[in-house]
């Protein structure tokens, strides 16, 4: 048995497994964040309810829009007071103001986060159209802040996938080469045995068999070892990032998808070991 071949294959499989877990983790985080994203349209306090409702109807007719929630001025005030019910100063100053300083607002949800940009530009166009006649009823649209976060997270997910795949490919090549030369060495060590096998008329598969099985065993062992290493690794990551990501628990993801992960890594490992030793035998045995 070659320690090196098993070790390199283990590292390779560990990286492949990590990429799978990280991908699931980030995708999960992204979709959670995306579901929290919406666009708020704040109207000026002087906006007429009729204009606002007309805009609502037009927004709802857009295919990108999933839902438009209309919060009128009174409701907005109520929400604001609810949020600040412990802050006497705010409540007092509101009372002194007498009039309701808050405008009505829309809470718009799109089917897909990438569609927010389109909705926002539609709103901008509406604003300027109205502007030609009279003052725009739209005070401001908060979209930019959320957009930055979403785009950043998508970029992280994408580059994690790409980097992971890149590292995995390099490591796969390394593992294949190490297994290849390990098997080559094994062939060299048993060249006498092989030459005798050939002279007594052993078939190709009979000669090739033990070496290919050796490669399969490397892959199998590496898959098991990498899964064993991965378990404490996920516990550690979960613990250190718990405060940061909140919702998603990496360890429970690992445990609940253990079977799937096991199959993927086993198949990868066995294929890797088998292919590299098969090629080594083909190349150095001339069977």
């Amino acid at each position: 048995m070659s320690f090196t071949a098993v070790f390199v294959t283990t590292v390779t499989l560990f990286i492949i497994g990590s990429v799978i877990i990280a991908n699931a983790f980030l995708t999960n985080a992204l979709s959670e964040l995306e579901s929290k994203v919406d666009v708020n349209v704040y109207f000026v306090t002087t906006a007429k309810e009729g204009d606002i409702l007309a805009l609502k109807t037009r927004l709802e007719s857009l295919p990108e829009v999933a839902a438009v929630e209309y919060i009128n001025r009174e409701q907005a005030l109520k929400n604001f007071m609810e949020r600040n019910k412990d802050n006497a100063l705010v409540l007092q100053s509101l009372e002194e103001l007498g009039d309701n300083p808050l405008g009505a607002l829309f809470n718009i949800k799109a089917h897909d986060p990438s569609q927010y940009a389109g909705i926002v530009s539609f709103l901008d166009k509406q604003g300027s159209d109205v502007l030609s006649g009279e003052a725009s009823i739209i005070d401001r649209v908060n979209y930019a802040d959320n957009q930055v976060i979403i785009e950043r997270l998508s970029a992280i997910t994408r580059s994690t996938r790409e980097l992971g795949a890149f590292i995995a490919i390099i490591l796969i090549a390394m593992a294949a080469l190490v297994t290849f030369s390990t098997i080559r060495l094994a062939i060299y060590n048993s060249r006498q045995e092989i030459s005798i096998m050939r002279l007594v008329g052993a078939g190709n598969s009979y000669i090739r068999g033990p070496f290919v099985i050796e490669g399969v065993m490397y892959g199998f062992l590496a898959a098991v070892i990498s899964l064993i290493i991965m378990f404490p690794a996920t516990i550690w990551i979960t613990r250190t990032t718990a405060g940061f990501f909140g919702g998603i628990n990496l360890t429970s993801y690992f445990v609940s998808n253990f079977g799937q992960l096991l199959i993927i890594l086993l198949v990868c490992g066995v294929l890797l070991g088998m292919t590299s030793s098969f090629l080594a035998v083909r190349r150095y045995l001339k069977v």
């Binding site: 096998m197 050939r198 002279l199 007594v200 008329g201 052993a202 078939g203 190709n204 009979y206």
Partner: protein, 226 residues
Amino acid sequence: MLSFEKVSKKYPDSSMALDDVNFKVERGEFVSVVGHSGAGKTTLMKMVLAEEHPSEGEIFFDTINIHKLRRSMISEYRRRIGVVFQDFRLLANKTAYENVAFAMEAAGRPDDVIQTDVPEVLALVGLGSKMWNFPNQLSGGEQQRVAIGRAIVNQPDLLIADEPTGNLDPINTYDVVQILKKINDLGTTVLLATHNKGVIDFLGKRVITMEKGKIVRDDPTGKYIL
């Protein structure tokens, strides 16, 4: 059963290992090939095993043109031939029994046949009591007898022995030749390459004499003349 037809072998350095070799071996014959080192004996043996390809000419085993066999068929063809070498070529980490059994496993024989045939063959070569010895616990002659056991265990049609007595003292040489003769008496065709005069004279069988890749003499009951 074996026939060489105008076989020549030219090596890249343009030396002729075999030069227009023609001969036939009939089933059940015991044929010795003699000649100095480099006369082409080993090349001739390797060609029968399909290890070397002739530059010209053809070699037939029964109706099989050996060098037109497909790769996958070569191993099957080799199972019909047993081989013995000067240096025994036993596996050092296997016992006498295992060395013989190994040849049967390689040929894909079932386990129960292996378990009955191997002791029989080892008894035939006079090693029934040393079945579980490793090669380094056996004398040269005994090792060669294990090798012969391995060569005949699959009941080949033809036994090739390339200088099987080259590393042995006269007494062991005599034993080994006796065994080869016994195998021949049991019906196996034997092709023996040697340069041991005593062996040839003792056998009194057909002798093919080679010199510089050519057959210079082919006596049906030969004496060793060089």
